[in-house]
Subunit: 758 residues, 2 copies
């Protein structure tokens, strides 16, 4: 395996501080830390977050991921001058995130305004073997003459979420010469947070401590000879609990003991341990591509790094926020993005992580049942935005219209119900890939039945036909419509799978089985017209079309809303993302390639791609339809959502779903992986730029390794496994190389494709 590609920050720029703070964030699924510089800049938003630690900061506010006291900041003074890259001159610069081991490094030479040069280096990582641990080193070398060097650092609890303070300071302490500890509680008193940090500057140094205005700091000053290096080592141990059963003192002491053990190990040993774990993980998960353009491998490595860093694999009571833990966008809430865009990666590489993500939803069934009940429905209506408790976290009203003073109700929480079926879809996908009957018999079946019950109560009988009224599909530019194709088909799938697994596991609730069968027999599934186009909803095709060229050129910026009101957009054929294309992606066995292609061609020109979830799915469907080049264009554009040139593309965090989609595009698009009728299919369609695509795959207990070129497919498996290569069944045991010339896809698409509406 080649080394994963470094991510680099090309140079210091006040405008892009927050972009790189998100892109290069360190994290381990337990915590996430924005890649802020040690020294402060007013434009720079610092951030450290713990998976699952949400709090509401006041009246009219929303439960959000708490921005914790900062431990990254270091005030550096060189001969009494405050170090800032805004002053002086940067003579050399390298800033990199080594995604192979999660280490962020900055190495620079700075000429102070007075003329003296200093080499300043820092590196840090969040340990993947000791999750509460963040380790950092900062070293300063006067290059031209001896200098007085001061570094002040510690725990800075003045940190807020853009002015919203969540924490009360309970206690701040200093132990011995190096250990500082702050104990905080959320203002609602429900959670305790302990931040312990061990700071040591090697050598002859004068140190003192201060605790003032929510800052607990160690101040160090030393005379450093020319060419000599002053090094600060700092280890931080961060824990939280909302169900503490120890006394606060005992709990705090345990954190200090753990930290002291880390300090005894030292930076290098801690790094070696964590880096080895990362190395194993990359071995198990990495996707390698031989492309004309190195950016493709970089995008994949970037995506996988974040897919690991953002995922709270350790805790099934937490899930993945829409920005991971790289920023405060969407308040750290969990959307359908998790099940549809992020879960597949885990499912096919570490299925136990996918199981945890589904158990998160299972734990949160009470909130989902309550939401359904409150709205007069049965079963489970999961919250559109979810945090720790599983209650609906979507603000009732959107941000105020500063012109009218009115607040519009947020429609998603009221009507964007497809996520219920998306969760069911993920449950089935999990079972298909793992055969985990134990999960399916308990959590899985409960989720399927409760979501199915929701749909059965949600449908409306219109002259004997069941319809689903007043919903929003994934396309959020079209609100409150009836019989949204995506929703109806997914609801049908949801109930069908609930019925199937209910029977399989011997469910004796005859009333449920009967109602499910009735629902499936009567639910209206929108039908394609003669042109093969499936109507997005009852009224969509009757709406006028406008030229979207200028808006598509600025995809992702929602510029259409500068020219038209939401109400006006709603009455035109304008899509944020295309529901029917998404549907053909979700249920590939349900639609022929021809139908997929016709709908792609019809809907794409009507789609602005203002959602970060849009292009990647169009890319996969394009590739599945045989147009790998169009698929590649969409995929590349998808990689630029975060990695592109816009200096503010991800100020408030990376687009988690878009990183998931980078993996999806490679595996489901260009390797053509799909699961149809429970069988694993590969229909490779490498774009011209790619010579080879290699990736691991976990499938029903086997560990596969698949390497695809334009000519051949090399597949190895740890156990015998049957898969379908371009529609032809193939049993792999050990390693097998197939010439793709022997596996030519039938012209009508995949051999096992079921007819639409079947």
């Amino acid at each position: 395996m080649s080394k994963p590609v470094m991510l680099s920050d090309p140079g210091f720029c006040p405008h892009s501080l927050n972009k790189y703070a998100s892109l290069m964030a360190t994290g381990n699924g337990y915590l996430g830390i924005r890649a802020s510089h040690e020294e402060g800049y007013t434009q720079q938003t610092r951030g450290m977050y713990l998976a699952g630690l949400y709090h509401r900061a006041g009246k009219g506010e929303i439960n959000e991921l708490v921005n914790l006291p900062d431990v990254i900041g270091v005030d550096i003074q060189l001969n009494g001058d405050i170090f800032s890259l805004l002053s002086g001159t940067i003579e050399s610069w390298r800033r990199e995130l080594d995604v192979s081991c999660g280490v962020l490094t900055r190495t620079l030479v700075w000429r102070a305004p007075g003329g003296a040069r200093f080499a300043i280096e820092s590196r840090r990582f969040a340990s993947v073997t000791q999750l509460p641990l963040v380790a950092m080193q900062l070293s300063i070398t006067p290059l031209d003459a001896a200098a007085t060097v001061s570094v002040s650092t510690g725990i800075d609890a003045t940190q807020t979420n853009h002015g919203r303070q969540h924490l009360d300071e309970t206690q701040v302490r200093v132990f011995g010469q190096h250990l500082l500890q702050g104990i905080y509680s959320t203002q609602d008193g429900r959670s305790d947070i302990s931040v312990s940090t061990w700071c040591r500057v090697q050598g002859e140094v004068q140190s003192c401590f201060t605790a003032k205005e929510r800052r607990l700091l160690q101040h160090n000053t030393a005379q450093v000879a020319q060419g000599e290096r002053l090094t600060l080592e700092k280890f931080t141990w961060i824990e939280w609990t909302s169900s503490r059963n120890l006394s606060l003192d005992t709990w705090a002491r345990q954190g200090r003991r753990a930290l002291e053990n880390c300090a005894l190990q030292g930076y290098e040993a801690l790094l070696t341990e964590s880096a080895a774990n990362w190395g194993d993980w990359w071995q198990r998960c990495r996707v390698e591509v031989a492309s004309h353009d190195n950016a493709d491998q970089r995008a994949l490595d970037f995506a996988l790094y974040h897919l690991r860093s953002m995922t709270p694999a350790h805790d099934e009571r937490s899930s993945i926020g829409a920005k991971g833990m790289t920023g405060e966008g969407y308040k750290g809430h969990v959307f359908w993005d998790t099940e549809v865009f992020l879960l597949p990666f885990h499912l096919f590489t570490e299925p136990e992580v996918a199981r945890n993500l589904l158990r998160y939803r299972w734990h949160n069934l009470p909130g989902a049942r309550e939401k359904a009940r409150r709205n007069g429905w049965h079963g489970a209506l999961f919250p559109w935005e979810s945090a720790r408790s599983g209650e609906e976290e979507t603000p009732e009203y959107a941000a105020i219209n500063i012109r009218t003073g009115l607040r519009q109700k947020v429609a998603s929480a009221l009507a964007e119900h497809h996520l219920v079926a998306d969760i069911a879809w993920a449950v089935v996908a999990y079972w298909q890939a793992t055969g985990d009957d134990q999960f399916m018999a308990r959590e899985g079946l409960t989720l399927l039945q409760e979501t199915a019950r929701f749909w059965m109560s949600r449908a409306t009988d219109v002259n004997g036909r069941l319809e689903i009224h007043d919903v929003i599909g994934p396309d959020e530019y079209t609100e409150h419509v009836n019989n949204n194709a995506f929703t109806n088909y997914m609801a049908h799938y949801n109930v069908a799978q609930a019925l199937r697994f209910s029977r399989r596991f011997g469910c004796t609730d005859e009333a449920f089985l009967h109602r499910a069968a009735h629902f499936l027999a009567h639910l209206w599934l929108p039908e394609a017209g003669e042109d093969g186009v499936l109507p997005q909803d009852d009224t969509f095709l009757s709406k006028p079309v406008i030229d979207l060229t200028t808006y598509k050129a600025k995809a992702g910026k929602q510029t259409i809303l500068l020219d038209y009101s939401r109400a006006e957009v709603n009455e035109m054929q304008i899509l944020k993302q295309a529901d029917v294309v998404m549907l053909t992606y979700m249920l590939p066995e349900r639609f022929s390639t021809d139908v997929c292609l016709r709908n792609l061609n019809f809907y794409e020109p009507r789609t602005i791609h203002d959602s970060s979830l849009s292009k990647s799915i169009h890319g996969i469907v394009s590739a599945r339809c045989g147009d790998a080049e169009q698929g590649y264009r969409f995929w590349r554009e998808g990689t630029l959502i975060d990695l592109g040139d816009d200096p503010h593309s991800c100020d408030d965090g990376i687009h988690a779903a878009a990183t998931g989609a980078i993996w999806l595009g490679a595996i489901q698009g260009f390797a053509g992986l799909s699961v149809r009728e429970g069988e694993l299919h590969l229909n490779p369609a490498l774009p011209d730029a790619w010579r080879q695509l290699t990736f691991p795959l976990r499938w029903q207990g086997s560990e596969l390794r698949i390497s695809l070129s334009r000519q051949e497919a090399r597949i190895s498996s740890t156990r015998p496994v049957t898969l379908w290569l371009n529609g032809t069944a193939l049993t792999v045991n050990g390693e097998q190389t197939c010439s793709l010339a022997d596996f030519i896809l039938p012209t009508n698409g995949t051999a096992t494709t079921q007819k639409e509406g079947e």
Copy 2:
């Protein structure tokens, strides 16, 4: 009158940003705004405060002056580069606070890192005629070539008190093209705050508005030709209420109307109006000194500027915080500083302001009675730290000892009871200077009687002698002592005056009159020994003496506490400030010059002057004892508390009492003003450096103007008034010039001095 001396910031320096932000703060008694730069710096603490608006931000926190949403910040971009003085080069610089009219100005030429020069000018003031109004102008001129200039500004509610958030955002709105309004409430729901701001950039400009993450902003971008000036005008109207009887909408609308009227007037007209009011005020209040050193006049002008700016003359429910409204030190709380160090200036220039300050205490009698009652005493025990409600605001525990984890009880609130008598002292001083029987018969007498009742219950009968046990005098390095001289004498004065005025106003509460007389007859007043030294308390003189030279050299920094614990300091003759010297200052008629001098000479070597209240009083007593040169040295050192070289001397606000003491030193020290037996005395003692001292004085309805040189005293009065010049009675009517050779002070001090213990 010459023009008051400008205060200037000698140059941009990240280390001194907060010093000058405090020194050059603008304010009008209603609001205070720190002199932050428009552009942001991480070291810079912005602050805007409203007199009386306190709130407690969470568990374990303290009621504090709320740092309001910022309206001063402007994000400036020049050809896309963020303007910061840390980058580029400052080619010229002038930053001044014109205390004559309260206008803060910065004029600079900045060379951007790319080489192009820009002239950037800004000016701002808080109106003294329309108190809720802050007006500012910012102009930018590209000097070398046309440039794209962007300015973004508005209302930034991410502002906190060092991370403590007090406000919920209720509503943010934009009206028309220029008006932005944010409505906030304190998190306890008790107060509403409305911040309305009108922003306009003249000329061809592209503008838009954003409301995100507690920031409501107007963004303006324009192409500006070389040599052309782009000007932003911004008017802000800030109101608050804790007893709103209008609907929120109506109240908010009224604020907008008021603001729109200001915008119609325009910056120059608003400034003219406010500056004229300042001009009148300086005419009425200014102290002019002809000194060898201009710094003396500057110190006086600085002090008077702040004495006006910090005083909520408009609102008798508010008083003056220990840092005015220039920073967050002492949480904006009110101490005895107000009555003893600040009230005299107002009393002798605008006595109605002094009356308001006393009415503040009168309004807050319920809290003071409750504090006395809770502690088992009678009458009124005013809180050591006071805010809006008059309840005790002193934190029960001091900041945690970060080493032991223990929090020490704050002793001041428990035992520093002399402030009760200090308030009574100020009531009498007010009546003496004004003869305001109406006030004295009602508020004054109530205050005198209630404070007297406290003392009568506070004393302990020890074998027929009344003693006052377990107190702290002004010297906070000596805690929990018995019969503190300052406290006992001041308590005696308090009860004596209560008795005197009770009789004068026909009080028929015989029990009170009887108990007061008994108290006065039996209260132990510590007596001077043969050396004339009055013991500070029962045990002080028996404690060991140590050499304080090194600590005195760092007066104000409390370095003694680095070497000794508080408990150890308590057991030595170590004074933070000298109680007995303070006592001779407070009750000059009570002690002969000889006694004053002996005690000054005894206690001064034992005094570190770690309190900012210390040196100025030593200076006044020195001058009164005839040593004007020593008085001058102390006075000068007192002026340096804020104005000295230490770049962090007043980061969290100026020392309000020390500014009051600059006036006290000039008037009570060098002009030798004192009130003895209700008579006005002048014993001029100009230091060698001063040729002349001129000041206005209000005395019992007369407006006097006094000009003193070494040779003569020129006194004018609007009405006939009798005063004592160097112990000789003099009646002034109109203008009168006296040769001081004709008014020689008797050698035993002042002619009317009563004997000690009389």
